[in-house]
């Protein structure tokens, strides 16, 4: 197993690109409605993830508290020069981590189109390179240390729009990324604790809930590299790493089983069939609502999958849930239900289930 950790810690300084204080919202403010579009990134490509968000036609509402945001956060004024106090703190942290401080700090843009940045990107800069952390199980490299602006915090949904507050946007963050030389959950725990300790010894980082965030990169042999974002509980990092390793192992097991059943490459045509007519007079509230809104119900025959969709890949999480999440993200499908489940819990009658089976000609 290979694990890397990325820590985001808020620095105790005013905002990175304007003269706002880094404080929570208080009192009056404005409310702003925005849309965003996919634009070509720095190298001319339209980022696929960004384009996908645009297709989803997202709308955003921003609360702009007067005490903690200005026209820079609302993307109505160009950024000011970078806050020198924040740079000083970042340099100090770089030196504590034995990193080489860069000769010139270059600001660049990371495309973020989930609305958490009003401009559609996050400004970020490398401050240090090639640092290291000494641990009980050897040296862990820290290839990159960055200073970047915090995104705005989501408040929820309102009238179909994602609603954010701009108080957090632009607060200075230091991002410390280790290389993937962490060997297991326990080691990850140690690294996270040590890094947290170093940050706190400067006395110049914010304390309290939400001021530090860890992202974990976990890859197992034969599996994929998976990022677990936003781990806030330091105590749970070891456990999260172990859980992810288990999930990847289970998924690899399912793959192996499927390859055995198919006798090689898994391929079943992936043919979606429109089943809407079967459910025109359904008692299922879920389907009735969806059809009422003009949505349609599709089915797909997945031969040789019987029994696998219910396999638990993690705590309270099954393979079916995993597939359903992919479909929601990638195709805008509202959800997936499958024949390994008890379909009556969705209000689907036996007759409807049989008709669907016949139409899909399931064995």
């Amino acid at each position: 197993m290979k694990v890397g950790i990325e820590i985001h810690q808020r620095l105790d300084a005013g905002k990175l690109f304007c003269n706002c204080p880094s404080v929570p919202a208080e009192g009056d403010g404005a409310s702003i409605y925005r849309r965003q579009r996919a634009v070509a990134g720095e190298l001319g490509k339209i980022d696929a993830a960004a384009a996908q968000e645009f297709v989803r036609k997202r709308q955003f509402l921003y609360e702009a508290p007067m005490n903690a945001s200005c026209l820079v956060e609302s993307d109505d004024e160009p950024p000011h020069d970078m806050n020198p106090t924040a740079i000083d703190i970042a340099v100090e942290i770089c030196l504590l981590l034995e990193a080489k401080v860069v000769d010139e700090v270059q600001v660049m843009r990371k495309t973020v189109i989930d609305g958490s940045n009003t401009g559609g990107f996050q400004r970020t800069s490398i401050v240090g390179l090639d640092g290291k952390l000494r641990t009980s199980r050897g040296e862990v490299g820290i290839p990159v240390i960055c200073i970047e602006e915090e995104s705005s915090g989501i408040l929820g949904e309102e009238g179909g729009a994602a609603k954010f507050c701009l108080d957090r946007l632009g607060m200075p963050l230091i991002e410390i990324a280790t290389d993937p030389t962490i060997v297991d959950g326990e080691h990850a725990q140690e690294v996270a604790e040590k890094l947290g300790g170093i940050l706190r010894t400067t006395g110049k980082v914010q304390r309290g809930i939400g001021t530090i965030r860890q992202d974990l990169n976990v890859s197992t042999e034969g599996g994929a590299r998976v990022e677990i974002k936003g781990a806030q509980e330091l105590k749970l990092i070891g456990k999260m790493v172990e859980n992810e390793a288990r999930r990847q192992k289970t998924l690899m097991g399912i793959r192996e089983e499927l390859e055995k059943r198919f006798g090689g490459k898994v391929d079943f045509g992936y043919q979606a069939v429109d089943l809407t007519t079967i459910f025109e007079n359904t008692g299922s509230k879920l389907f009735k609502g969806a059809i009422g809104k003009g949505h349609r119900i599709f089915g797909m025959r997945m031969p040789k999958f019987k029994g696998l969709l219910g396999t638990e890949v993690g705590e309270g999480r099954r393979f079916g849930t995993e597939l359903s999440d992919y479909a929601k993200m990638n195709a805008g499908v509202a959800g997936i239900m499958h024949s390994d489940e008890d379909l009556s819990k969705y209000g689907i009658s036996e007759k409807e289930a049989r008709e669907a089976e016949m139409k899909l000609s399931l064995e």
Partner: protein
């Protein structure tokens, strides 16, 4: 720009921006040097996407590697002509709207072919048949009288070819100069001519460019209106654009997307982003079967002078000395300027005498107000009456920039006496006849 030392060294290795290089043990693509920063610092984009600056030292090893980064071309959509939709001509003048940044060179690539525009903003194809054309390529602060003529000529030929409306993409800084100038130059305009731009660059997901373009093209294609207008964000929200009269609009903020405001009047209309509904706010001229003509003469010896306490004679003396034919004064309050000295200095007396001399020499001197909002009235106080006696003409509450373009245009197309009489006549809605009691005059609507 990189320093001479660094550029020469890079050139020596045959390295240009976009090449993959190794320097000081770091590998990445060479990036262009921003105007700020140390010109001896080499900027490369690492594989993780971050840029890093490495200070160049004499004799430092730089290596050119394989794998140059090329800017990808935007995928272009094929546009089909739909004979049920009107034709809208989009003329690009060099603003950054609908353009994108080439990060290799730092330059802006304007998107001005119809295919470019429709690829960048696909919604346009649902509104109208788009014709795209580049008229010129200048930042709006660099516009000169010749450029107004190019624009007027290009608009006229598009209308002659049957465009239902014309959209001009323009830098925002001097957009209100252009909108007023074209309002004067394009006589008997039968269709809408919509000028629009972007306050926030179009290389960001949050740019106001697309919404302004969509609303502007919609207005040009479908609004029952004739005249030159500006179409920009109505508020900070991405909800609707305001359509402003070309002669009563002004950029009132350096960076906000709702920087353009109708001054001393309501906007002409509002165009919704979603749904495209066009709501006219007041009376307005309709489309007509008029025969467009271009009155394209422009007098370039016209000045615009802002007065202020403590100003010196030499600032004013220039106009007579250089033979100016027109001068717009951006005066104080209701239309005043420094004109009376006391025991401490007689500079103000000399300024006043100079202005009188300038007017007597035949230069048309027009008074406007740096208050921007409100009328000019030179009859209220003695100094105003004295200025009139000295030959200064009241600008009737025209915006200073509009009085300037109007004077250029009047002097370019009419005899001086006729031009003088027309200063106080309403040619293109530049003079507001009555100002309503608006409780919050900056709000716009």
């Amino acid at each position: 720009m990189y320093s001479h030392k660094v550029s020469e060294r890079l050139k020596g290795f045959g390295i240009t921006v976009g090449d993959r290089i190794r320097v000081s043990g770091k590998e990445g693509s060479l990036m262009p040097k921003p105007e700020t920063g140390d010109p001896d610092c080499i900027v490369i984009k690492l594989d993780n996407g971050y840029n890093v600056g490495i200070h160049y030292e004499e004799g430092m090893a730089i290596e050119k590697l394989e794998g140059r980064v090329e800017l990808e071309k935007l995928a272009q959509k094929e546009i089909k002509f739909d004979d049920r939709k009107p034709v809208v001509a989009i003329l690009s003048t060099g603003g950054t709207i609908a353009s994108r940044v080439d990060y290799r060179t730092g330059g802006v690539i304007p998107a001005f072919s119809a295919a470019d525009l429709v690829s960048a903003v696909p919604e346009l194809a649902n509104i109208a048949n788009i014709k795209g054309k580049s008229v010129m390529n200048v930042f709006s602060e660099n516009i000169r009288p010749e450029h107004y003529k190019y624009m007027a000529g290009a608009v006229a030929s598009e209308i002659a070819e049957g465009a239902a409306g014309v959209v001009i993409l323009h830098g925002t800084d001097t957009m209100h100069y252009t909108s007023s100038m074209l309002s004067f130059m394009l006589r008997d305009l039968p269709v809408p001519v919509v000028i629009l731009g972007a306050q926030r660059s179009s290389d960001r997901g949050s740019s106001d460019a697309a919404m302004n373009l969509i609303c502007g093209v919609n207005f040009a294609a479908h609004a029952d209106y004739s005249g030159v207008v500006v179409c920009m964000h109505g508020t900070l929200d991405d909800k609707f654009c305001h359509i402003h009269s070309g002669t009563r609009v002004r950029k009132m903020h350096t960076s906000r997307r709702d920087a353009f405001k109708s001054i001393d009047m309501k906007p002409i209309a509002r165009v919704d982003y979603e749904g495209g509904k066009i709501d006219f706010i007041g009376e307005h001229p309709k489309r007509g079967h008029l025969e467009l003509s271009v009155a394209s003469g422009l007098e370039s010896k016209v000045g615009l002078l802002k007065v202020y306490p403590g100003m010196r004679l030499e600032q004013v003396a220039l106009f007579r000395e250089k033979g100016y034919n027109g001068l717009v004064i951006e005066g104080t309050g209701l239309g005043h300027m420094p004109m009376k000295g006391d025991e401490s200095s007689d500079e103000n007396d000399r300024i006043f005498n100079e202005i009188r001399g300038l007017a007597e020499s035949g230069c048309l001197v027009v008074m406007t107000s740096q208050c921007i909002y409100g009328n000019v009235n030179m009859n209220v106080y003695g100094p105003g009456r004295d200025l009139q006696k000295a030959g200064v003409i009241s600008g009737q509450g025209m915006l200073p920039e509009v009085a300037y373009t109007k004077l250029m245009w009047l002097l370019g197309n009419y005899e001086k006496e006729k031009a003088k009489a027309m200063v106080s006549q309403n040619v293109a809605g530049e003079i507001v006849e009555r100002r309503e009691v608006a409780p919050d005059f900056e709000k716009g609507e």
